[in-house]
């Protein structure tokens, strides 16, 4: 489903991603962990070209973008429509109600008529457990509820891949569970997901593959049990020790 080849990304002189290769099969959940500044969020943002790498190529399903060539805005837009993204700070549209947030993609981008979009949005909000909050503005929702609207909004455009950028990091501890539950549900439905997170329990129980990144490189990857229980690399061990303290 996803194939990243030799992705390199720099901010000025700072190399944030160095020669990243990554394959994700359809229906698999990949969790990326690593210390802050390791490039994991940048890697995720390259997948929908919110950050444009200098080198390498990315394929999702049938579409390929080669960053060594000039890329048109049109290519970026059409590539982006294959992914749905969930942000750390939710980034809901504050001037739209919950359901309008979810309808926005289908109506404005896909040209779905409002009635059909509304019906679909209602189903999605029901799925994330927010049937009661359909006509509420984001500021009237808790962080956990906002993030669940964020997930519904991302799913509304029928993405082939769901990207999660530290979806629970901005939440109060007691609200983390409800968001992880929705994500787990999606994983069980066979969605292809790439998740950047610090929730190790979630990674252990849901991920098909765990990737440990440090200083812009993939240091280690494998089944969650392998990476968490018997990491091969010294840096992975150090990181896991630190977060387990």
């Amino acid at each position: 489903m996803i194939s990243m080849k030799k992705i390199t990304k720099q901010f000025g002189d700072l190399v944030v991603l160095k020669d990243i290769n990554l394959e994700v099969e359809k229906g698999k959940v990949v969790v990326i962990i690593g210390p802050s500044g390791s490039g994991k969020t940048t890697l995720l943002r390259c997948l929908n070209i919110l950050e444009q790498p200098e080198e390498g190529s990315i394929s999702i399903d049938q579409q390929t973008v080669d960053f060594t060539k000039r890329i048109t805005k049109k290519e970026v837009l059409s590539f982006r429509k294959q992914t749905g993204m969930v942000f750390q700070t939710y980034n809901l549209f504050p001037h739209f109600t919950a359901i309008e947030n979810v309808m926005e993609g289908p109506v404005t981008v896909q040209g779905v008529n409002k009635k059909a979009a509304r019906k679909k949005a209602e189903e999605l909000l029901k799925k994330v457990g927010l049937s009661e909050k359909v006509n509420v503005y984001p500021h009237q929702l808790s962080g956990g509820q906002q993030q669940r609207v964020g997930i519904a909004r991302a799913m509304a455009i029928d993405p082939k891949v769901m990207l999660f950028d530290e979806p629970t990091s901005a939440l109060d501890p007691e609200l983390v569970g409800e968001v992880l539950l929705v994500m787990k549900q999606l994983a069980e439905e066979g969605r292809t997901m790439v998740v950047v997170t610090h929730e190790m329990k979630f990674a252990r129980s849901v991920a098909d593959e765990v990737i440990f990144m440090d200083q812009g490189r993939i240091i280690e990857r494998g089944k969650p049990d392998e990476v968490f229980s018997k990491p091969k690399e010294q840096r992975t061990k150090e990181f896991l020790n630190l977060i387990n303290q």
């Binding site: 992914t83 749905g84 993204m85 549209f93 001037h95 993609g105 981008v109 991302a154 509304a156």
Partner: protein, 234 residues
């Protein structure tokens, strides 16, 4: 002395002048001051949005053009702009550039409002969190779709207080149109003074009418702010 001023100011004769002048002044307000303000402001805002978007577009030619325009308008007096548009262009001998006074005033005021308001709108757009652009991009919106559906509606809320300021300012600046023969309220007042020789009385009356208009506008501004704030935590 005090008594004398008071009694002379509100003498029967003066009250009559006030009454007689009120209708012509009101006519100036309704047929020129208000239309001139409204039309110029609406066109000005359209110019401002385009200019602001040019400025932040990242396309060099467009942002340079916007900068030059704003710099020229902000760097020259409105009165001079009015004279250039009306007398200056009118004197070129090109029929298309010979404007009626009202049209000339609309052009000058729109261009003037456009430049000042573009800075307000630009600042409002820049004040919207970057995450909003990213979120709209992430659901596949193009730059213009993001701008129209997500960024500008939020920027509008931020820009209402400073834009109201511009609008109220414009109401009063329309009095400058009197100098290019637009019969708006202040010109009417000057005409009345020319026959009654009561400048203090009639100009204070005109000032009072401007104040009432602006007072009503500030109430409308408050209403709009309340409406646009409905989605913000208060």
């Amino acid at each position: 002395m005090k008594m004398y001023l008071y009694s002379s100011f509100l003498s029967a004769e003066n009250i009559e002048i006030l009454q007689d002048s009120f209708l012509p002044l009101l006519k100036g307000v309704l047929s020129y001051t208000i239309p001139l303000t409204l039309i110029s402001f609406i066109i000005g805002i359209l110019i401002a949005v385009v200019t602001a978007v040019f400025r932040i577009s990242g396309i060099k030619v467009l942002s340079a053009a916007a900068r030059v325009y704003v710099s020229i308008i902000r760097g020259t007096p409105l009165l001079v702009q009015l004279f250039i548009v009306f007398f200056g262009l009118g004197n070129l001998g090109i029929d298309a550039l010979k404007f009626e006074p009202f049209t000339g005033a609309v052009i000058a005021f729109s261009l003037n409002t456009g430049a000042y308001a573009s800075e307000i709108i630009r600042a409002s757009i820049l004040s919207i969190d970057k995450g909003q652009w990213e979120a709209s991009s992430s659901i596949g919106m193009s730059y213009l779709q993001s701008l129209k559906r997500v960024i500008l509606p939020q920027a509008a809320r931020v820009s209402i207080p400073p834009l109201s300021n511009s609008f109220i300012g414009l109401v009063k600046e329309t009095s400058l149109a009197s100098t290019i023969l637009v019969s708006e309220m202040f010109r009417k007042a000057q005409e009345i003074v020319a026959t009654t020789y009561t400048p203090l009385l009639v100009y204070v009356e005109a000032a009072a009418i401007y104040w009432v208009i602006c007072f009503v506008l500030s109430i409308i501004q408050e209403r709009i702010e309340i409406r646009l704030n409905r989605y913000v935590k208060t």
